[in-house]
């Protein structure tokens, strides 16, 4: 156990705020969808949406942009969750965008489909005529995200203009837009990684077992442990080992770092996070590409 005294009084306020945003989204947009990656942030979003509209069902679908490079368990968890809570589920495949020639597969050892998701996502928004995509982005994750609004406007190319964002005052959110434009909405903007974990603990939210310790084939690259999958290319110096790990975020396998850990309960995970000295995105290869990597991807329309 940890010797950390952890403050939890603020969780209720963060929850009230997120529920408020969920309801504003449902009221202001005609066809929103909740972007569901199978990761803990999107699982928390689903929980908050259930609370916001209870006893009615969540009034918008969940949408998964599937890179095809998943942990098997993510898909099973996703399908069960949608069934249990009676949510409509839309799945869009990056592979389809590749087949249609709209997205080009990266090559080499660091190849990842993470960036290609943008193409599939923007197509999905157009095909499904969505006017708002709800994401689990948090401002504490990364520098460019620290400037993100709760209601973030996207032009008709799906692009974000960080220097020309709409001011957000008090609790008044302006979701008005022209044809072809859409919004991204981030109900848990003000949460930190630790808040998310504490909330999961307090609310007893079910998570995929990948978040708890398990044996997995992993290898080390640039100081980060990555989960190994058969389609991944290794450098000659890299070796696959079978170690006790847990995931800190769950996304596309090719760029999701894992943590060496034997934490088996939420208590242990919270204690570990509280004591941890690396941000969770520090474990994501996609952000290491350049100092402004996230800002550039977000401008193009990434999550």
């Amino acid at each position: 156990m940890s010797d950390f005294k952890i403050n939890t009084n603020h969780l209720k306020l963060l929850e009230d705020e997120a529920i408020f945003i969920m309801r504003e989204i449902a009221a202001q947009f005609e066809k929103p969808a909740l972007l569901f990656s199978g990761g803990k942030d999107s699982i928390v979003l689903v929980h908050l949406a259930r609370k916001a509209f209870w006893p009615a069902k969540i009034p918008f679908p969940l949408m998964h942009i599937d890179t095809g490079h998943n942990f098997d368990e993510t898909i099973e968890f996703r399908d069960n969750l949608a069934k249990e809570f009676g949510c409509e589920l839309i799945v869009k495949y990056v592979q389809d965008s590749i087949n249609q020639g709209k997205a080009i597969e990266e090559k080499g050892v660091n190849a990842s489909r993470n960036k290609l998701q943008t193409v599939t996502l923007l197509d999905a928004i157009e095909d499904e005529k969505l006017d708002c995509a709800i994401g689990g982005g948090r401002r504490d994750e990364e520098k460019a995200r620290a400037k993100e609004r709760f209601f973030s406007h996207r032009d008709d190319f799906g692009q974000w203009d960080p220097k020309n964002q709409r001011p957000e005052l008090w609790n008044i959110f302006n979701g008005r837009k022209n044809m072809g434009e859409h919004f991204r909405a981030f109900p848990i903007s003000n949460w930190t990684e630790l808040d998310v974990w504490q909330y999961i603990m307090y609310e007893k939210i079910k998570l995929p077992s990948l978040y708890y310790t398990h044996k997995r084939k992993v290898f080390e690259r640039d100081g980060t442990w990555l989960a190994w999958a058969p389609f991944m290319e290794l450098k000659p110096t890299e070796t696959v080992q079978n170690l006790d790990v847990r995931c800190r975020t769950i996304g596309d396998i090719t760029c999701t770092g894992v943590t060496l850990s034997t934490a088996n309960t939420l208590d242990e995970i919270v204690a570990e996070i509280a004591a941890s000295r690396i941000t969770e995105r520090g474990g994501r290869a996609d952000d290491k590409r350049s100092e402004a990597a996230m800002e550039d991807r977000k401008k193009e329309g990434y999550f």
Partner: protein, 421 residues
């Protein structure tokens, strides 16, 4: 989430100061000394500092996130930062200081409880300090903390601090603000930020962090002042909840109890609160800030944009009212032109009928040229709305007392206003 006491758990503050007064450095220092900076973030800024030829780690790089900001070394937009201590979680809105970003400061302050205003010990109170203090007071901060920064550059002189202290007190006579605190600090070297300074032994007050951890921000939850803007109507139409009809929203001010007599605006119909729903938990009351769903005894027609209030204390139903308006848009305000007005969850058409006074916010004197209200200007204006809205004075209730204006053609938020009586 019931047994949690939120009023002490979270503090939102905004920082203000002129360019180079040390806002970004101060925030970096708070994060660093409270051990909220992660190793990889520190590696990243250490490397960037070195590349730029700095010997010491430049803590301001922690907050200046956008490429353009790092290149120009200034803060353009509002950035939000988080840190916590065992006592409180903090949300910081870091806003830029230049005059062309007055609107950003208004934005940052609109969600804050406390404003931290930096003053360079070498310069003392300058024009910008007047503007920042005025905005903090206009937005009704519960506390204003003045940090007299860069004390290291004035040899930690008590005499210099006393001079500035006097300047601040003079300024406050013009502005009028509540709960003022003044602290001498050095953001760069950490004096009085988190740890008590060895160099400023003559100062008896608390450090900045200590103050932030302990200032009182809780509402007094007087049920007379409850306001409940309806966000969304919940009708499950499922077998289990066939007749359920709940009004979802976030209570703004005060407290409500099951059994309270309420009035619905604008219809003026009355009823009683039958139940307060919270994800299957039965509850008998709710207080300011709670996101809840209310069911009423009577079946009355209520939709988004309506407001449920205690029958004993109604807000004003107004077709014409005055606000202190801050103009946000590059296109100047057009008198007599129409804007969409958003007031809590309600939306109406509006006309700006008159500019009553325009302030020169650098001198706090009235501007005689009130013809044109440009970006970053603040003016007292009269607004007419197509159908009456239910307002309170901003100082009484920040939710029912605030509005934004939206340009119908571009959908941009062009102004923010605080209702004044």
């Amino acid at each position: 989430m019931e047994n949690i006491k939120p009023e002490i758990g979270l503090l939102r503050f905004t920082t203000a100061g002129s360019v180079d007064d040390g806002k970004s450095t101060l925030i970096g220092r708070l994060l660093y000394d409270s051990k909220s900076i992660f190793e990889d973030q520190l590696d990243n800024i250490t490397e960037t500092s070195k590349r730029k030829g700095n010997d010491e780690v430049d803590l301001s790089l922690l907050t200046d996130g956008l490429r353009a900001e790092r290149e120009q070394g200034i803060t353009i937009d509002v950035a939000y930062r988080y840190f916590s201590t065992p006592n409180r979680k903090f949300i910081i809105a870091d806003t830029p200081g230049h005059i062309q970003y007055t609107r950003n400061m208004v934005t940052g302050a609109s969600t804050a409880d406390v404003a931290v205003i930096l003053i360079d010990a070498r310069n003392g109170v300058i024009e910008q300090s007047i503007r920042h203090t005025f905005i903090a007071s206009l937005l009704d901060m519960k506390h204003i903390i003045f940090c007299v920064n860069k004390m290291d550059l004035v040899d930690f002189s008590q005499a210099r601090f006393d001079e500035i202290n006097k300047e601040i007190r003079e300024l406050l006579e013009k502005v009028g603000a509540k709960n003022i605190h003044i602290i001498p600090i050095s953001a760069k070297f950490g004096d009085n930020v988190v740890d008590k300074s060895e160099n400023l032994k003559w100062f008896n007050g608390s450090t900045l962090l200590n103050l932030l951890e302990t200032v009182r921000i809780a509402d007094d939850y007087n049920s007379k002042y409850a306001r409940f803007p309806v966000q969304y109507v919940i009708r499950p139409q499922s077998d289990d909840y066939h007749d359920f009809r709940g009004y979802a929203g976030r209570l703004a001010g005060g407290k409500i109890f099951v059994g309270d007599k309420i009035t619905v605006l604008p219809s003026m119909l009355t009823s009683k609160i039958k139940s307060i729903e919270d994800f299957g938990n039965e509850r008998y009351d709710a207080k300011s800030g709670d996101s809840i769903t209310i069911c009423l005894e009577d079946d009355i027609d209520i939709s988004r944009g309506n407001m449920i209030v205690p029958s004993e204390n109604l807000p004003d139903l107004a077709k014409e009212f005055n606000v202190m308006l801050c103009w946000f848009n590059e296109k100047p305000l057009q008198i007599k032109s129409k804007y969409i007005l958003r007031h809590s969850t309600n939306e109406v058409k509006s006309i700006l009928s008159e500019v009553n006074t325009k302030l020169n916010i650098n001198t706090l004197e009235e501007d005689t040229d009130k013809k044109e209200i440009k970006m970053n200007d603040i003016a007292n204006v009269t607004i007419k709305v197509a159908s009456p809205i239910f307002i309170d004075d901003y100082k009484l209730n920040h939710v029912s007392g605030s509005i934004i204006l939206i340009d119908e053609a571009t959908n941009e938020t062009v102004a923010a206003g605080m209702v004044v009586k």
